[in-house]
Each structure stands twice: as C-alpha cells, then as structure tokens.
C-alpha cells in the first residue's frame, strides 16, 4: 500500500485526489490546503483527512510514502524540497518550475536526497496523443514535415488569481502549451530553434494568445498555438507527413453529449459533452508513476524531459520578449 499525501486541493489537487482514491494499491492519507472549506470538502469526497499545512500533516500522519504537489507553480520548488528532505518520493504537477535553472535545481535536489521525482506531463497519457505517436513511430504517415497543435480556452481562474501573475505562473506559454512542447519533443526529439509571438507585454489584461514556431533538430517544423482568448476548452493536433496526415480535434470528437432541454423560451439548453474512458489520462499517469515507484522503473516522463519542456517554454518567452529567434544548446 502506497501512502500518498496530496498538497493543494485546487483544480489539479482534486483530479489527483480522486484518482488516488480509486486506486487499490494506494491509500490517500490526507489533503493539505490553506483553504479549510475547500480542503474539507475534497477530503470528505475522497474519504480522507484535511490538513491546514504541510507541516501539520507530516507531524500528525503516521505514514507517508509519496507526496503529490498540486500547488501553484511558484511553490513547487519549496514543497518538492520539503518532501525530499523528508525522504519521500515526489509527484509534481507540470510545469516543474518557472525557469530551467529552478527546474534543474529541483531535479538535483531530489537526486541528492535520493528520492524519485515524477512530473505530470499528462499529455503523454492521453490515448489520442499516445496513439498518434505510435502511428508516427509505425511509419503510418511517413516522415513528419509539419506539426500543428492548439490548446486553449478561457483565462484560467484559480486560488488567489495566481495564473494572472505571470512571474508566478509563466502565463500561457509556460503553463499551458508546455504540454504540447513536451508531447512534440516526445515524438520528434529535441528542439533547435524557437520563435514566438504573444500578447504578453502588449497591454492586454486577462487575455493571452501565443503562436510559437519550433524547429526541431530533425528538421521538422512545428506550429504551437495557445489561447487564453477563446470560449470553452479544446485541443487540436495535426501531424503532416510525407505519406499521410493525422488530425485530432477535441471539439469534434464527442462520443457522448447530454443536452438539457430549455425550460424557458429564449433560454438555450446546456450541452455537456463527455469523452468517457475506463481510466482517464490523469489516472493512467498517476498509476504509471506509482508503478514506477513500486517496481523501480524508468517513467515515461523523465525529470530531464520536464526540464527540457521548461527550457523550450522559456526560449519561447525570451523570443516573445526580444523579437528574435532563440537557439537552444
């Protein structure tokens, strides 16, 4: 039985806690959150206890094996280090940190303390993305020349509006389209050059939109689009190869739609689309990490991958700031 403590009961903490609660080989021993009401609510839902602070939880809990950090990005370093100090394995949400240096220091710290570190680049566990990579590797579409991705929706709302503080969250490029950077690196290897534009620094509040061009060492070109300027979340991907094309658009793949008939004239009914899977991607990711701990396996997402993803995002941000392409070493 793996005893897991989840820190943070926000959007991701909720997803993680619910996943652990459903795992047979995991005992969710507690949830830490500053916000008592939210913490208690989630603890009740997942049949565990709430703690007001990390220290309180570690003091009171008899046994903790794994600490799962679902805190705002700027707090990752502090809490991963605390966990490493306590000799616990760590699962941390992406992005690992705000800069390559910060990310590397976290990795080094965990290495020194001899604890395992896993970073939640969950796109690698989305079956549609996994399958696309498989098809590429199988040669189904030949050599990929141009890849295009989209990820976006509305500006995120969260505790303390921390996403709006770009120093802390890294904004759209570091927080959101890092998923696509990581996925593309997983499929196509390292990136050589990055050029990007976004609304950053152009005087617009609570809205962002970024268009990033990546040139891979393999020569492949990728166009990564991110948006906090659209209504409703969606993600898209297109891989165009010499022998074929793979396309995916989450807005079009809706195996199930439940619609409430409008009760009043003039009021639209609400459609709730779902794409049910026996195990959702977050569950699959966390299950894989637990398995890696249990059986001492190399994870699908390594710490190096997590650092590289931050590096690409940072290069894009640098390009946005300077207006120049950034070459990665």
């Amino acid at each position: 039985m793996h005893h897991v403590l989840v820190i943070g009961a926000g959007t991701m903490g909720t997803v993680h806690a619910k996943s652990y609660a459903a795992m047979k080989n995991v005992e969710l021993v507690g949830i830490v959150d500053l916000r008592g009401e939210r913490g208690r609510e989630l603890a009740a839902e997942t049949n565990t206890q709430w703690f007001a602070s990390y220290d309180e939880a570690m003091e009171k809990l008899e046994r903790v094996d794994i600490i799962d950090v679902c805190l705002p990005t700027y707090l990752h370093k502090t809490y991963v280090q605390k966990a490493a100090d306590a000799g616990k394995h760590v699962i941390c949400e992406k992005p690992l940190a705000r800069s390559k240096e910060e990310a590397q220091s976290i990795v080094d710290y965990c290495h020194e303390k001899n604890v395992k570190l896993f970073v939640g680049h969950v796109l690698r566990f989305f079956p549609e993305y996994e399958k696309s990579r498989q098809l590429v590797n199988d040669g189904t579409i030949g050599n990929v020349g141009v890849a295009r991705t989209f990820r976006g929706g509305i500006f995120p709302t969260a505790w303390n509006d921390w996403y709006a503080d770009y120093k802390n969250s890294g904004g759209l490029v570091l927080d959101m389209i890092i998923h696509d950077f990581d996925f593309l690196r997983w499929c196509f290897g390292d990136v050589e050059r990055v050029y990007a534009k976004s609304l950053l620094g152009r005087g617009f509040a609570r809205i962002d939109y970024a268009l990033v061009t990546l040139r891979f060492k393999s020569g492949m070109i990728a166009h990564v689009e991110g948006s906090w300027a659209h209504e409703g979340f969606s993600m898209k991907m297109e891989l165009a190869g010499s022998e074929g094309i793979i396309q995916y658009d989450s807005a079009k793949e809706k195996p199930l739609i439940a619609v409430n008939r409008a009760k009043q004239a003039g009021m639209g009914g609400v459609a709730v689309p779902e794409s049910p899977l026996r195990e959702n991607p977050y569950f699959r990711e966390l299950k894989h990490f637990i398995d890696c701990i249990e059986n001492d396996l190399q994870p699908r997402v390594t710490v190096e991958d997590a650092v590289k993803a931050v590096e690409i995002a940072r290069a894009a941000l640098e390009s946005i700031e300077t207006g120049k392409p950034v070459t990665l070493v």
Partner: protein, 324 residues
C-alpha cells in the same frame, strides 16, 4: 467585351474561361500559349482561335486579357499587354521579384490600363462576411491572426524555381497575406519564417511557417505548406482565426462541403459553396466596363509578393526581416 487568355499554364485559366462563358456581354476571343499542345487543346475546348505567339493575340481585337502563364512570365506578358493597351487580370503571385512587380504596375499606370491581381479568395462570401464582421467591430480590436493556406504540391512548372520563383512559400503566402492586409488596411512590417523541403521528391520549398508583425502591432502566422497528401479529402484550405479584444472569428473558407465516400476515392469533400473564380472575373469585367480602379490592385499583388520574398530571406538568414 472581348477577352483573351495568355497561357493556360496555370490551372485557374480553366475556371476563368468557364466564368467568362457565364457572363453576359463578354466573349472569350482567343488563347495564346507557347506550348502548342496544351494551348490548342484549351482553345478547341472553348471553341476559340489559338495563337502560338501571344503578340498575335494582343494585336487582335481584344479589350482585356487574363494572364495565367508561369509566374516568372507574368512580367513579360503584362508589359506587352499594357503596351498594347489591354486591361489585365494577372494570376497570383503577381511577379517573382519586387522590381518586376513594380515595373508592371508602373507600365500599366502609364498606359492607362487596369492591372488587377487575381486574389479570388477576396470574393468568397465567408471571407467577405468575416471582413464585414471585423468592420462592424464584432471582435473589437484585432490582436492576432492565425492563418493557413495549405495545399497539395501542384508539381509541373510549380516546382521549377526558374518558372515559379519558388515553391510553397511564394505560391501559398500571397492569398492569406492579402486577406490580412485587406482586413486591417495595414502593411506587414516584419517577417520571420521557417522553410523547408519535406514532402516532395523535388528539392523545392514545400513547407513553411511565417510569423508576421503588422504596422498596427498585430502579429500573425501563416502555414503555406504543400502538406496535403493524395488521400486528404480536399486539395487544400484557407483558414483564419482572428483574435480580437471582444471575441474571435474562425474562418474556414472551404468548409461548405459534403463528405462523399466512394469506393473509388475513399472520403472526399465536395464543395457546394459559391464559386469565387467567377466572382473575381465578373468583378474584373465590371471594372473594365465602368473604367474604374480595380478592387484588387497590382500594388496589392506586389505587397503580398514582398512578404513571400522576405520569408525566403528570413529562412535563409534565420533572422526576422524588416520590410518597413
């Protein structure tokens, strides 16, 4: 009004001829082509005289010409037509160098003939509507645009730089750049591009992502790749995602289609939208008739070419290229 066609090298010659056939009071009176086989075949199909030498066509009783020759010949054909006093509808890209484009524009001005660049997408009803929505302020102020104009590798002279001036970048940059300029009424200030040859057997640029910054501070990207393969359900696309302060517009010009599944061809999209080429031709004819300035000018054609050429330069230097 009597119209001639100079060269059927570009496949659009066929849809333009078709469009002429549908217009009242307009007559196609001849086809010139240095390639006798393809020229004669087209002339026979349309039941008009064939001229081996375009100068003979220009000497005939013709009011205006449509130039659908290989890109690198637009200049020669336009200059000759202008000097013969004929109005001109010239296929895009207007020219393969800026100097050539400039000269074409000047000569047409001097000779007092119309020079219109064939940008048919401006006549697509969804594009016209999108522009209207932008002008009505439906999305507020435009902040960014994401565009694509992808297609299949057309092969033939298109992949011979001496005739085409380049591959996908010059072929597929101009349409959507023209739309972006047209929607916003400003020019491109700076261009960055990643360009490569990834899909074709011939060594020609067949994929590219351009990033542009406009004079009004709007940034945009454009995918001009010939990345549609044989089995893709349609030859290509024209899309724009317009990000404004108050909302977004998604334009997918060729999405008025039927999904057709045939045993023979698999899935193909059959378009049922309005034909933009005939709109383009009838607009040109109207300008000639009413002796008014063309709705899409030679200058428009040149500005779009300018961006494509800057993209090549940027890809070469791996640095953004400042146009103005």
């Amino acid at each position: 009004m009597k119209l001639g066609i100079i060269s059927v090298a570009h496949m659009h010659a066929y849809s333009y001829a078709n469009a002429i056939g549908k217009l009242a009071g307009v007559q196609l009176v001849g086809v010139a082509d240095e390639d006798e086989a393809r020229g004669k075949e087209a002339a026979e199909k349309w039941g008009v005289p064939f001229y081996h030498d375009y100068r003979e066509l220009l000497a005939a009783d013709v009011d205006a010409v449509i130039i659908t020759s290989e890109n690198a010949k637009h200049h020669e054909h336009t200059v000759a037509a202008a000097k013969a006093g004929k109005h001109i509808l010239c296929e895009k890209p207007l020219a393969t160098t800026l100097a050539a484009a400039q000269e074409m524009i000047e000569i047409c001005r001097e000779q007092g003939v119309i020079l219109q660049t064939a940008f048919p997408v401006r006549f697509h009803p969804a594009v016209v509507r999108a522009k209207q929505l932008v002008e009505q302020g439906k999305v507020g102020r435009i902040m960014a645009i994401r565009g694509t104009n992808r297609g299949q590798n057309p092969g033939g002279w298109f992949v011979d730089p001496a005739k085409s001036g380049g591959g996908a970048v010059i072929d597929h940059t101009v349409h959507v750049v023209d739309l972006m300029r047209w929607f916003m009424g400003v020019e491109v200030r700076e261009v960055y591009a990643e360009v490569d040859s990834k899909f074709s057997p011939t060594p020609i640029d067949d994929c590219g992502i351009l990033t542009m910054e406009f004079e009004n501070g709007v940034f945009a990207t454009l995918d001009c790749s010939w990345s549609r393969n044989k089995t893709f359900p349609v030859w290509g696309d024209v899309t724009m995602e317009i990000i404004g302060t108050e909302g977004t517009i998604s334009l997918d010009a060729f999405s008025q289609k039927l999904d057709v599944y045939s045993n023979d061809k698999g899935l193909k999209w059959v378009n049922w939208g309005d034909d933009m080429d005939s709109q383009l031709v009838s607009d040109f004819v109207a300008s000639v008739r009413e002796k008014k300035a063309p709705s899409v000018t030679g200058e428009d054609g040149m500005r779009a070419v300018e961006v494509a050429l800057a993209a090549y330069q940027s890809a070469e230097s791996k640095q953004p290229v400042v146009i103005r």
